[in-house]
């Protein structure tokens, strides 16, 4: 362990920023998993129908756009990491 790891507790705003950054990191992983999901589906006669998968994929897409907009709206590209090199858990 290095002698100093920065503050143990962070101001509420910085804390929010950190958690938003975490959310931004998790989003593509969750999205990736959800995109693979249709591969595991089973249709009435073997493969699932294109129409159904298409509706699922586009619905997922719209949700992802919405979530991404929500997360990135309050996330600054530089701020949270400045001053503290550790992506500490606050």
């Amino acid at each position: 362990m290095s002698p100093e790891r920065g503050p143990v507790f962070l101001a509420r705003r910085t804390y929010r920023q950190r958690r938003l950054a975490d959310a931004a990191r998790m989003l593509p992983i969750a999205a990736g998993v959800l995109m693979i999901l249709p591969l595991l589906w089973q249709g009435p006669d073997g493969d699932p129908g294109t129409a159904m998968v298409m509706i699922y994929i586009f619905a997922l897409w719209i949700v992802l756009v919405g979530l991404s907009a929500l997360v990135s709206r309050h996330l600054r590209a530089r701020e949270p990491d400045k001053g503290n090199p550790n992506h500490g858990d606050g």
């Binding site: 990191r25 593509p28 591969l39 699932p48 294109t50 756009v65 907009a69």
Partner: protein, 913 residues
């Protein structure tokens, strides 16, 4: 008028509009009205060059062949965009802080500004992009042909190639005009970006329009559409898992690595905050682009005759239904997709080719080119223009030679795999400090080799480049080296096979090479800079230069950046350093800044080499090495704090030592002062004692003798009293206890009084005054001032050895300060004595004249109390003293008292000096 002619007309109008938009945006930018040009929406729209004609037309074709699989091409970039916090943010910040001009520049810059690596990346990018450009030309040609077929009146386009040629020429002209306006590739091409943003809107609108027409015009709305999909040949979602995952990852990789994407995403980025908007807006754009692809494909498969090219459904469906307007719109959408891709790709490639291939070669063959006469700037711009033409021409050539057949359709994915080879070096460079140049070269080399062998060369068809035997039995008959089944992996689809092996081998070689090799210092510095870009955004140092080189640097910079820009840069740097003129010290900071600015024009590697030519070798500072040696910023911070603490200690020790020295000095001065005083008191005392003893002990003294001795005693007593008065006066002055009696009067009166009191009348001294200039109203303690003047005049009367002695008094006004110069025509004061004349008891030699040597010391004290000064003026005809005094009066007395009481001042109270 036939449809085809209308099409040609619309096309020309559209191109004219593009030129107008680009021109307008450039003009607006030149006038500084860039507000809306810099909006995040424009940035997002410019990213849409990801959607080329291959995706505009090809997505429907792709969907018609293999159903929903096409969507992976859009899902990959969606993942990258919503995951911007991981990679894109870092990429964009690195690109901006390091003034990166292209992906080749980034990779070369990260691995110690290695030009070899840059050349490698450039060549691979050109190989990967040329067929892609050919594909765009083909799509425009095919869409023209589709119109021609439905138009019986049209003159049959016997030569499809000519269309492609015209498109190529037009695009070259556009790109050269708007893409090479400024040499600094880091500056944004506002015109180009605006034009491609407009094209982004056109292609999205066109595709959506066709989609709406197909769903609600040809089919009977949403419900009917779903039924039709169910009834079509693509009703089942039977995509192999490996392709679904593999293609998604491939398109994600390509999205980051494609030179044209890198150009709009990183190089043209103006503000990293734009990513925030793009992170959701661009996925939304992609979603809309692919929304109607399956419906169009399904309806196309159903309604179009057997054997119709599914790649052109977007165009042929409206044409078949007689909707010429919609068809023309659709054509424009495809045309937009094709042109914007070619424009940006050729700009990106030309930057790479000119910076990493042409310029280094030119530099080498023109000797010490940085110092040569001639305009480097012109060479660079010409190189870039020729490169643009060359790249587009290569694309045309590829199209021409391949005959525009269906072989081209597959080239999209093949190109993706090619550029994806940059990914390990790129990501490793951004996240792993241990990545080295050797590793990057090994990885890129292995990946490129596998790609060429397993995908690119076989794409020309069996026996075209690779003989049939190689396909069947492997290279040299080794079964494990079959291009589609390396190491016996026969069950994979060729594209996925190539992706898997190339990426595995690439990453493996990259990691292994990095682990086994040892990086050069510059590499390690750059590595630290890139990986820790959010911690410290400066660039590593390295240059040390001397003043003589500044001029050479300016000469070089002028030729690269243009005279005005270079001079501004240099003058700014000089001003920051506090140096007048245009030549700053070539400090490491300045050289770094210069290198970064130059790298915006000619690339990091070339800029480094050019500065190296002038300045000599790069050096690595201790701090830089610390940044590399220490694995965490914490240790550095900790050691900096320790260093600060030890510096603090050293400072305190130094202060203590100084205080001690001062005290010792004061003690010595005090002793000297006491012995001086005793001596001064002793001399008159001795004579008083001697003569009073004579008077007492000698009985037979004549009255004359008695009178003489008594007057000697009297004189000595007077001298003693004066000495004690002076001492008292000085002590009072030095303690600040003197009462300053502020009056207002004329300087001329004060001088008159001083002249009289100094006894000028009774002496041989002549005083030369300029009474007109002495009519100055003063507010000060005029009695004290007169005392100073008296002293100065009396000194001249006593010591001036001119024949006849003349004193010149001149008065002048400087702002709020009146300056009076007293100059005599004597031999003056020797330079070695000038420093001490204001000290107590300083007399010049063993002068016969009376005086304890306290006069000037008192003068100095008085003038200080009055807020002015008296100083010796060297270089005049004789001794010269300058008295300067503020017109507004002396400073407040209590302040002086306080100062005198403070320990700082204490030294001057007792010290003779």
């Amino acid at each position: 008028m036939s449809t085809l002619n209308v099409l040609v007309l619309v096309c020309i109008c559209y191109v004219a509009l593009l030129f107008a938009v680009a021109f307008g945006a450039d003009r607006a930018a030149a006038r500084g009205r860039v507000g809306w040009l810099r909006s995040p929406i424009v940035y997002t729209l410019s990213l849409s060059i990801y959607c080329t004609a291959w995706t505009f037309y090809g997505a429907v074709g792709f969907a018609a062949r293999s159903g929903l699989e096409f969507v992976t091409i859009y899902l990959g970039p969606t993942l990258v965009m919503i995951g911007w916090w991981w990679t894109l943010r870092r990429l964009v910040v690195v690109g901006r802080t390091q003034r990166i001009t292209s992906i080749a520049d980034l990779i070369s810059s990260r691995y110690g500004k290695s030009n070899l690596l840059a050349v490698f990346v450039t060549v691979l990018a050109v190989i990967g992009t040329t067929p892609y450009i050919a594909l765009q030309l083909q799509s425009v040609t095919l869409s023209f042909a589709a119109f021609a077929e439905t138009d019986p009146e049209a003159i049959h386009l016997s030569d499809m190639q000519s269309t492609a040629l015209w498109v190529a020429v037009g695009l070259t002209v556009f790109t050269v005009l708007f893409g090479t306006r400024n040499l600094d590739a880091n500056e944004r091409h506002h015109g180009v970006v605006m034009a491609i943003a407009m094209e982004a809107v056109v292609k999205l609108f066109a595709l959506l329009a066709v989609g709406v027409f197909v769903v609600w015009g040809l089919a009977g709305g949403m419900g009917d559409m779903l039924d039709r999909i169910e009834a079509s040949g693509i009703s089942r979602f039977d995509v192999p898992g490996s392709r679904w995952v593999g293609l998604t990852l491939l398109s994600a990789a390509a999205f980051i690595c494609l030179p044209r994407m890198f150009q709009v995403m990183v190089v043209e980025n103006e503000d990293e905050e734009h990513l925030r908007t793009a992170s959701w807006a661009f996925p939304a754009y992609l979603m809309l682009m692919s929304l109607f692809v399956i419906p169009i494909a399904a309806v196309g498969l159903q309604m179009m005759p057997e054997g119709a090219n599914p790649d052109l459904f977007v165009l042929t469906l409206p044409l078949m239904d007689g909707r010429d307007g919609l068809a023309i719109l659709s054509f424009l959408g495809g045309f937009s997709s094709a042109t914007s891709m070619v424009i940006v790709a050729s700009i990106a490639l030309s930057t790479m080719v000119s910076n990493h291939v042409v310029m280094p070669i030119w530099l080498r063959y023109s000797g010490n080119a940085a110092m040569m006469s001639g305009d480097v700037r012109k060479v660079a711009i010409t190189a870039r223009r020729l490169s643009i033409a060359g790249v587009v021409f290569l694309g045309y050539l590829y199209f021409h030679l391949s005959g525009g057949g269906t072989a081209l359709a597959a080239i999209g994915l093949i190109a993706f795999v090619g550029v994806a080879q940059f990914l390990p070096a790129l990501m490793g460079g951004l996240f792993w400090r241990g990545a080295t140049r050797s590793g990057a070269l090994a990885g890129l080399g292995a990946g490129a080799l596998v790609w060429l062998y397993c995908l690119f060369l076989p794409s020309f068809g069996p026996s075209a480049v690779l003989p049939q035997a190689v396909f069947e039995h492997g290279l040299w008959g080794i079964g494990w080296l079959r291009p589609y089944a390396l190491f016996g992996t026969e069950r994979l689809d060729p594209v996925i096979h190539a992706v898997m092996w190339s990426m595995l081998l690439n990453t493996g070689c990259f990691i292994l090479g990095s682990l086994l090799s040892f990086p050069k210092p510059l590499e390690r510095l750059q590595g630290a800079q890139f990986v820790n870009v959010f911690e410290h955004s400066g660039t590593p140092g390295g240059w040390t230069g001397n003043m003589a080189q500044s001029e050479d640097l300016l000469v070089m910079s002028q030729r690269i950046m243009g005279a005005h820009e270079a001079q501004t840069l240099f003058a700014d740097a000089a001003r920051r350093q506090g140096v007048a003129g245009y030549l700053p010290e070539p400090s490491p900071d300045f050289l770094q800044e210069l290198e970064r600015v130059l790298s915006g024009s000619v690339g990091a590697a070339t800029a480094h080499a050019m500065i190296g030519q002038i300045v000599g070798g790069a050096t690595v500072s201790v701090e830089d090495l610390m940044a590399v040696a220490d694995e965490t910023a914490q240790i550095m911070e900790y050691s900096t704090r320790l260093e600060a603490q030890s510096q603090e200690l050293a400072r305190t020790a130094r202060q203590l030592r100084q205080a001690n020295e001062k005290l010792t000095q004061l003690s010595v001065q005090k002793d000297a002062f006491l012995s001086q005083i005793s001596h001064e008191l002793r001399t008159p005392m001795t004579s008083i004692r001697a003569f009073s003893e004579i008077l007492r002990d000698t009985g037979d003294l004549t009255p004359e003798e008695q009178g003489k001795y008594a007057s000697i005693i009297h004189d000595e007593t007077v001298r003693l009293t004066r000495l004690l008065d002076d001492l008292l006066d000085l002590s009072v002055l030095e303690n600040g206890q003197v009462e300053i009696n502020v009056q207002t009067g004329q300087l001329v009166d004060v001088l008159d009084r001083a002249e009289r009191a100094a006894g000028v009348k009774d002496s041989t001294l002549q005083v030369d005054r300029d009474r007109a200039s002495e009519a100055v109203t003063l507010t000060s303690d005029l009695d004290r001032l007169a005392q100073v003047f008296i002293n100065l005049i009396a000194n001249a009367r006593k010591y001036c050895d001119g024949t006849p002695p003349v004193m010149t008094i001149r008065t002048s006004l400087h702002d709020d300060v009146v300056v009076v110069d007293f100059t005599d025509n004597g031999s003056g004061i020797p330079p070695d004595k000038q420093a001490v004349i204001f000290e107590k008891f300083s007399r010049l030699g063993q002068s016969s004249a009376a005086g304890a040597g306290l006069g000037l010391a008192i003068c100095r004290e008085i003038m200080e109390r009055l807020g002015g000064s008296v100083s010796y003026l060297p270089g005049q005809t004789g001794a010269a003293f300058r008295v300067s005094l503020p017109l507004s009066g002396p400073p407040a007395a209590p302040k002086a008292k306080e100062e005198a009481a403070s320990p700082e001042e204490a030294e001057s109270v007792d010290a003779p000096g």
